[in-house]
């Protein structure tokens, strides 16, 4: 199958720290890929380059044939690892905002998801807890019929109930046509979602493969493999 994302030898340095070191990665169309690695392995830097928030010092990134820019932003649905909604908004404003800016946004889907998450339209962004932020942001991001979803640490720091709701929402709303990239260091909770996994260490890919094949070959779950690699 064709590759929707092509990353060719990208390097990213902050001052004297090298966050990504000539990393290459092709991601095929359709499927869920887990980018696994501890903090500081370069996961978030990689994600930020894909979303156009950062630019590599060297190398090339192509998403659907284009370098990150206005077009790629219109086909990539991005969940950052922080609250990115404007503080003055309530949930209804946020829905309106996504509807106005993203042509692929499905309002009915958003309303259903928010109901599933137990959030109502009148709630103010400023007054939401960490778990609620994560649920709201994910609902908005999944309500787009995007070609590529990028979820950066979607369950970090949320309580177990919210975590299950988030995982359910991801599985329920994933469609086979689109590509989903999920970064996490909470491998045990998320590994059943992945088709492929890539282990990131020191800004390069240490190991990449089909999750089931790796389980078969190594005779262990991805979580155990993660512990073996990074432990």
């Amino acid at each position: 199958m064709e590759d929707i994302i092509k990353i060719k030898g990208i390097t990213k340095t902050y001052r004297n720290k090298r966050a990504l070191d000539s990393l290459s990665l092709n991601i095929k169309k359709g499927g869920v890929i887990g980018i696994l690695g501890p903090n500081g392995s370069g996961k978030t830097t990689l994600i930020k380059i894909l979303t156009g928030l950062l630019r590599p010092n060297k190398g090339e990134v192509l998403i659907d044939g284009k370098t990150p820019g206005t077009y790629t932003k219109s086909i990539v649905s991005y969940l950052p690892d922080r609250n990115f909604l404007y503080e003055w908004m309530n949930i209804e404003d946020a829905i309106g905002f996504f509807k106005d800016f993203y042509e692929d946004f499905d309002e009915d889907k958003a309303i259903n998801l928010l109901e599933f998450m137990g959030l109502n339209k009148g709630m103010k962004i400023k007054e939401l807890s960490k778990g609620m932020h994560e649920k709201l942001n994910l609902s908005l991001v999944l309500s787009r019929n995007a070609k590529v979803y990028i979820l950066d640490e979607p369950i970090a720091g949320v309580d177990p109930v919210a975590r299950d709701q988030i995982l359910d929402a991801i599985v329920k709303n994933y469609n086979e046509e689109s590509t989903m990239i999920i970064t996490t260091h909470l491998v045990r909770d998320m590994e059943n979602l992945f088709d492929d996994v890539a282990f990131l260490r020191g800004g390069t890919i240490e190991l990449i493969g089909n999750a089931e094949t790796l389980r078969e070959e190594k005779g262990m779950q991805i979580d155990d493999l993660y512990k073996e690699i990074f432990g």
């Binding site: 869920v32 599985v171 994933y174 059943n192 979602l193 992945f194 088709d195 089931e212 389980r215 779950q221």
Partner: protein, 114 residues
């Protein structure tokens, strides 16, 4: 359902469905949950579920009707032989474990009679 074995997820799902068939929780000709439904209940990637179904179909334990879904086989003999296979593999494993603890066949028999 907890995935804690050293086995790939799709094999664990296959084993789970096989067991349900053997204990007649899923009866012959029953409709199996759709890929999407099972994917949601187990919080597992739908492609993995699909793979489990495909493998089960290859083993002749389920069949797919276009537009209708996946169904358990109507061949009772097949389920009976599956039951025997599963029992046999359990016994085999048990025996291997017991032998590794230096039990003789006689001693094992005695323990089972209890």
């Amino acid at each position: 359902m907890n995935f804690k074995d050293n086995l790939p997820i799709y094999i664990q799902i296959m084993n789970y469905i096989k067991k349900e068939m053997v204990i007649r929780k899923i009866k012959e000709g029953d409709k199996l949950p759709s890929v999407r439904e099972l994917s949601t209940t187990l919080t597992v990637n739908p492609n993995t579920i699909q793979r489990a179904y495909t493998e089960l179909e290859r083993e002749g334990l389920v069949f797919t009707q276009r537009g209708m879904g996946t169904f358990a086989t109507e061949d009772i003999e097949k389920i009976e032989s599956l039951k025997k296979d599963m029992a046999k593999s359990l016994v085999d494993n048990f025996l291997i474990d017991m032998q590794s603890l230096n039990f003789s066949k006689e001693e094992i028999k005695k323990l089972i009679d209890l």
